[in-house]
């Protein structure tokens, strides 16, 4: 029950901020829409004719996935940096649940808000371009799983932030690594490369998504990528969480938990 109430508390805080400062959310929505629309126009211009069908959907969904995962990687570290700067970080670690769990719940709350925001943006793009994106609600499943795997990487970034209270440089590198991962054609790999993909952050989910969107596979018929996705999420979320717990203890030993 404590866990559920803590998770609800994080959703509550996100809602309060949204209600109190709607301009922030609206500007985020407008910014993302403009960016996606620019992407649509750019893709049309580059190809010389209006893009139709799957191709456009791929670009938009890939970009949506990238923003979601980037958010998942950056959120926890960003929150820790903010909390340390504001002076509330130590209060978070004073809660019996512990900082690791609280930031996990906060990450989930932010992820849900981001999924909603990205879906709204994609819907607006569809309306503006009068273009039906071939995107089904089931596509959200590998996207959400990819975000959870990215959250594991986010914990690793957050561990660095916890000790040094800075993660800007690291995040700028990570965003390009993520973009690189999203571009890799994991779904067409053969042999030992498949084994490697299972353990690459987001790997199985990107492969699932590509097979679903490009090749028209169903969620459960994506050559096992879907199930390997669970292994990938458990692995990265587990590694990230454990490293974060260990780093929290190290920060407490060094006495730098509340420093900024």
């Amino acid at each position: 029950m404590t866990q559920a109430r803590a998770l609800l508390a994080e959703f509550y805080m996100a809602l309060v901020q949204l209600r109190r400062y709607p301009t922030e959310s609206i500007s985020q929505l407008v910014g993302l829409t403009v960016l996606f629309y620019g992407l649509f126009l750019g893709a049309s211009y580059m190809s010389g004719n209006p893009l139709l069908g799957h191709r456009l959907s791929d670009i938009i969904v890939s970009y949506g996935l990238w923003t979601l995962c980037l958010g998942a990687v950056a959120n926890i570290g960003h929150e820790i940096g903010n909390e340390a700067q504001n002076g509330t970080l130590e209060q978070v670690f004073l809660i019996p649940l512990g900082g690791g769990r609280i930031f996990l719940y906060r990450g989930i709350a932010q992820l849900v808000s981001q999924v909603i925001l990205t879906s709204v943006v994609i819907l607006i793009i569809s309306l503006i371009t009068r273009h039906h994106l071939s995107f089904s609600a089931l596509d959200l499943v590998p996207m959400a799983m990819a975000s959870l795997s990215a959250m594991g990487v986010g914990y690793l970034v957050a561990s660095v932030t916890l000790l040094f209270k800075r993660s800007g440089q690291l995040l700028s590198i990570v965003q390009f690594i993520l973009l690189f991962f999203i571009m890799i054609p994991f779904s067409s790999f053969h042999g030992w490369l498949i084994d490697v993909t299972i353990f690459v952050p987001l790997g199985p989910m990107i492969a699932s998504l590509k097979q679903m969107m490009v090749d028209g596979h169903g969620l459960l018929t994506v050559h096992g990528w879907f199930w390997w996705g669970f292994v990938n999420v458990a692995l990265w979320l587990g590694i990230g969480y454990l490293v974060f717990l260990k780093t929290s203890r190290k920060a407490a030993r060094l006495g730098v938990l509340g420093h900024y």
């Binding site: 404590t2 508390a9 309060v16 002076g87 509330t88 209060q91 019996p96 649940l97 512990g98």
Partner: protein, 311 residues
Amino acid sequence: MVLSVEGLSKTYSRRGDAPVHAVSDMSLSLDAGEIYAFLGPNGAGKTTTIKMIAGLVHPDSGDVQICGYSVLRKRRDALSHVGAVLEGSRNLYWRMTAMENFLYWGGLRGLPRLEVRKRGAELLEIFGLAQKRKDTLQKMSRGMQQRVAICTALLHHPKLLLLDEPTLGLDLEASDSVQEVVRGLANDSGTAILLTTHQMDVAQALARRVCIVREGRIVLEGETSVVLETFSTGSYTVELAEPVAPSRQTELTELGALWLSPASLRVSANQDRPIHEWLQHLDGYRIVRVELEGMDLGRVFRQVTMKEASS
């Protein structure tokens, strides 16, 4: 016993710098309803100790037990009995109202929303903030923010409240109101309160026991009244109904009396010459008032810390 601290030590080692012994072999205990003031100059180790008690800094050695649970081994059980307001202005989210902060922090502690609303309203009433419940914290004065922070720390009825410099930066009125609240908490709900402060008058007014730390070590500890009595200088002011004859004044001056006016003097009583002996020298004069000069914690603090610094 609510809090038991045994042999707590912490040394900070930074690469290239000499190690800093922040806290050395610190032991203390607190019972329910007791207010304990932790005094010391800057860098004496007060905040490090309070953070070790809260589990935010891990000690090199020693242990902290809260309601019988070790903060290091049973962190979750131990911290469920602790509320804390740490040094610095920000313990809460300023973009949220008091009640929103209560609902958020109460939720993280697993408290039901209805219970938090009820308890929150009750606390706001007690702390004189009922009319401010809809204001965001950024619109409140520093004193109000501090009181909201204390309210938040009390949502879950903690048995131990840690207050790091609770009246720092507050004006007199706000400081008085925080002191009143702290006293009420200890008396009415039996909360054990450990507070650190630089303001000796605050410590003297609130604490039943005080402890002075210097360079991470306890240099003085005891009941506030006993400490004040021990450090009393034994100086008495004696006021007479009429001026003392010049010859008698000279006689008493030679014994060490200091004349404030021809009809009042200050004398230092000690074992060799107790106060009644001084008064015998004033035979024949009507004595209006004899008053022992009070010792305050500020003077005790200065004496102790200066003595320690020179030794």
